[in-house]
Symmetry: D2
Subunit: 279 residues, 4 copies
C-alpha cells in the first residue's frame, strides 16, 4: 500500500498542505467548490455563470480556453480570447480562475490571466508539461490520469514539486472501467487513500466522472462526506447547446440547489465544515 | 443509458420497492446498517459482536457459514454449525440474519435459520442459484459481480424476480479496476444510476471494496451521503487473527465511532434519515 | 508471478498434462480445433455443421443445450432435446461432444450424452458447479472468468482437480477491458503464462473474445502461433439468423478457409504441429 | 464498430499505407522487426546489440535517449549524448533509428539524428506533441495509450496526419487490465480491428506488454501470425543490470532464436512474408 513518491508523500511531510489561490484556501478547514463551464464560449454566458455560482457559494471559477480534445476535428477552445473573458469575469465577481494548460510554451501567457494552472487527465504523465508547471509560480490542479494508479498520480505530483513549486492540488475525476452507464467510474476510495499516503489536498470532479448531469449531485455529496477538500463542478447557462460536454453540466438552478445540500452535509461531517459564504 | 432489464426496471414499477426483513425496512425513509464478521468462526466472538453492533445502531447481523472462496484450499465456513450460531445471536439480540448461499440445494436448510439470503459477487451470474433464491420465500441480497455492469446486475435481479420473489436488495461491493492500492474500486456512481434505472433498494459494502479498514469509514460516509439505502460493514473482535478478510474488518470501537458520524451525515441529507435506534 | 494454486501448478506436476476425450488428445503434439454452433437450435443445421467442420479438420463438436444467459428473458437452450441432437451428430460424424453445464444437478444427465463438460465464464467461480464437475468422470473444459486473473483461474481448476478429476483443459475466451470495438479483449499473453505456471493444456476461444466474425481468423492464427493447444470456434449455417451470438460465428466456408491457414501456421511453429486430418 | 477518425480512416483512404524509413518499408509485403535496448546507456553495449540484431535480421534500431518515466526520481535518459550514440550505431550497421520524443521543443534536435520519432504510450493524447511531430518531416511511430480505445488511438493519429505528415505507424504495446501476472494485457485483436478501420500500418511491442522476457516470444509469434506489420522488441547485452526495464529484454541469443521462429511463421501466413534479410 505504500507509494513510491517522495516529495508528495506523507512520510516526507506529515502535516496537511494548504494551497492558497488568492485568498481561497484548499486543504484547510472548509471544503470549497470551483464551478464554471467546461469551455469558455461566450462572454454574456460566462458572466451570468460567474455571478450565479458566486451567489451560490462557489469560491473559484473554472473554464477552458485551451482544451485537450480526443479528436483534432473538435473545438479546441478560444485560446487567449478565452483567457481574457475569464479574467474579466474573475475581476467582476472576485473569483480566482483555474484553467487548463496543454503546451509547455503557454505557461507564460496563461500565467498573465489565470490564478491556477490545470493539468488535464490526458496530460498527467506529460513530463515536459509537469516540469513547466512546476517552474511557474502558480498553484497547479493536477487531475488524475483516467487509467493511472494513485501511486502514479503522486509521482506526477513529484514532477511538479521537484521543480520547487509546493502548491499542488490533486483532482480525482473518474477512472476508466468496463461500466458503460457512466463515462468513467468515480474512485471514491482515492480520497481516503490519498489522505493516508500524501499531505496534498484532494478535490473531486464529479461532472467528468459521471458524464450525465443526473448523477452529479449524488457523487458530489458522497465526495464531500468521504472527506474531499473540495469539488469542481461544471455548470452551463444552456447545457444542451454547449459545444463541449453539455450533457454533464448542471443548470444554474441545479447547482444552487446542490450547494444547499452540500452545506447540510458539510455540517454533518467531523470536520464540521461548510461550503457556504457565510460559514 | 437504458437497461434491458424488465421486472427490475423503473419503467416496470415506478415507486421505490421497500424490502422487509422481519421488522427491518430496506429502501424506506431510513438507511440501515448491517454488521458482523466476514465468516462465523466462534460463538463467544459472534455474541460479543452482535451485542456491540446492536448497541451502536446496526439493524441486522451478517456472517458467513458457507463461503465462496477463490481457492479450494482456504477455509470454506462452518456450514450448518455456523447457521446455528447465527440464529442464536439473532434470537438473543433481535437482529435478523443475512447469510450467503452458494449451492441451490442449500436453500431449504439456510431458510430454516436465516432471514435473508445473500448471493455473493462471484455467483451473480450463476443462474441456477438465482432461480433457486427466487423460488424461496426469503428476501435476497444480490451483490454486484465485481466485473459486471449495472445492466447485467439488474438482469440478474430479473432472474430472481421472474420466479415470483419481489424482495431483492442490491449491494454494490466494488468493481475490478487497475488500481491496486485498494482491493476493488467502489463504484459510488452506481447508487445514482440504480436509483434512476430501477425501483430496487441499493446498499453498499465498503469493507470488501476497500480491503483495508483505514479506508472503510470514508467510503461508508460517502455512500450514505450519495443516497444509499444502507451499508453492510465487516466488524471483528480481533481483526488481525480472523481466518478470512481480517484486514478489512473494523474493530467494535471503530464501528461505534463510525455509526455516530453516519448519524450526523444522515441528518444532513435531504432524506433527513438516521441510522440510529432512537431516530 | 507465482500462482497460489497447488494441484494445477507446474511445481506440483512438471510434465504437460494431456487430456483424452475419446481418441482426441488435447495438450499433446498437435493443436486441435473444436467447432460448432453457439447453441443447438435445429437438427438439419447441426448435422450440416458437423459434416462440414469434420471435413475441414475439426476434431470435436461444440454446441450449447443449457446456456448461461445474462438475461432470463433470452433463449436458454433446448435442454435434453439439444443433448440428443448433439449425440446424434457426434455418432454420425465421429466427433466427441463438449457442452456447457450450468447446474450441479444436471451432471448425470449431461454425462449420458456428452464427452466433455464445459464450465462457462460466468460460472468459473461457482464452487458448487466446479466440485460437481470434479466428481464426474468426464473431462472438463474450464473457461476463464472474463474478469478473473490467471491465478484465480488456476485456483478454480484446483476445485475440480481436488475432487479427483485430473482432466481439465483451460480455455481463454477474452477478458473485460475498456476497449469497446470488440466484445472482450483476448489475453494472448495468458497462453505463455499458463504454460509457465501450470501443466494443464490451454485452448483459445477467439469467437467470444472478438464478438465479430471479421476479427476471428486473425485471433485464431495468433493463438496457434503463440502456442495454444487448440481452438474453439463458433460456426453457423446462417449466422445472421442465429438466436444467440450469430454476429461472431464464422460461415462454413470461412471456417474451412481458416483451417487451411491454421495448417500452414502450425507447420511454421517449433512444435511443428498440424490441425489437419492427415497429420 | 466505426471509428470517428477521418484521415486515418479506411473510408478516407482505401489502400494500405506503406511508410518508408530510409529504405525500410513498414506496411508492405514483409513484416519487419525493430530491436534495441529500452534506453541507451553505453556505447559498447549499443554497438554489440546493433551488430547482433542486424545479423539476426532486424531492420531498424530502437533506443531511448529521452524517456518518459513515471517517476521524476528515475533515470531520464542520456539526452543528446544518447542520440549521438544511436546515430553512430546506425551508420555503422545501416539500421535506421527510431527514438522517443517527449517535448515539442526537442523535435528539431532529434530530427538531426533519428530517422523516425516515437510518441510513447503516456503521451498518446498529448496534443501539443502530436502536432509538433506532425509538423516534422519524419515518420512517426505512435504507441497506443495503455488505457485508450482504438478509436482514440486513430484520433491521435489524425492529429499528426492533420499537420500534413502522412507517415504514421501504429504500435500496440499492451493495455491496462486487472490481470497482474503480466505488466499489461496485449490486445491482439487490435491488429484486426486497426486493419479494418484504418489504412495505417500496425506493429506490436510484445516486450512492454509482457513485462517479463519469458512471455515475449509467444506474443511476438502470435502477433505476426495475427497479421501485424512488424514488431518492436527489446534486447539487452546484460538484461539484469539494465537501468530501465531489464526484466523484459531478451538476450541477444534469445532474440536470434526468436527471429528464426518468426521466419517460419511468416512463411506460414497468407501474406507469405519473411522477416529475414534473405527473403
Amino acid at each position: 500500500m505504500a507509494s513510491s513518491c517522495k516529495l508528495a508523500s506523507r512520510d516526507h511531510k506529515t502535516d496537511d498542505t494548504i494551497v492558497m489561490i488568492g485568498n481561497v484556501e484548499i486543504g484547510g478547514k472548509h471544503p470549497i467548490v470551483i464551478a464554471g463551464p467546461c469551455t469558455v464560449e461566450d462572454e454574456a454566458a460566462l458572466l451570468e455563470i460567474a455571478s450565479s455560482v458566486k451567489n451560490a457559494g462557489a469560491k473559484m471559477l473554472r473554464g477552458g480556453a485551451y482544451k485537450t480534445r480526443t479528436s483534432p476535428h473538435d473545438f479546441q477552445g478560444l485560446g487567449e480570447k478565452g483567457l481574457i473573458l475569464l479574467a474579466k469575469a474573475s475581476d467582476k465577481y472576485g473569483l480566482p480562475i483555474v484553467t487548463e494548460i496543454t503546451d509547455p510554451k503557454d505557461v507564460g501567457l496563461i500565467a498573465e490571466y489565470a490564478d491556477m494552472l490545470q493539468i488535464g487527465s490526458r496530460n498527467m504523465q506529460n513530463s515536459a508539461l509537469l516540469k513547466a508547471a512546476g517552474r511557474s509560480q502558480l498553484p497547479v490542479l493536477l487531475k488524475r490520469g483516467f487509467a493511472c494508479t494513485i501511486n502514479e498520480w503522486l509521482l506526477a505530483a513529484d514532477y511538479i514539486l521537484s521543480e520547487g513549486n509546493p502548491n499542488v492540488v490533486l483532482c480525482e475525476r473518474g477512472i476508466r472501467s468496463f461500466e458503460d452507464s457512466t463515462r468513467f467510474s468515480l474512485d471514491i476510495l482515492s480520497i481516503a487513500v490519498v489522505k493516508k499516503m500524501s499531505h496534498l489536498p484532494i478535490i473531486v470532479d464529479p461532472s467528468h466522472a459521471a458524464g450525465y448531469r443526473e448523477y452529479v449531485a449524488s457523487a458530489a455529496k458522497g465526495s464531500i462526506a468521504a472527506g474531499a477538500d473540495g469539488l469542481m463542478i461544471e455548470v452551463s447557462v444552456n447545457p444542451e447547446t454547449a459545444l463541449v460536454d453539455g450533457r454533464q453540466a448542471l443548470t444554474l438552478i441545479q447547482f444552487s440547489e446542490l450547494m444547499v445540500q452540500l452545506n447540510h452535509i458539510s455540517k454533518g461531517i467531523a470536520r464540521s465544515v461548510s461550503v457556504s459564504e457565510s460559514n
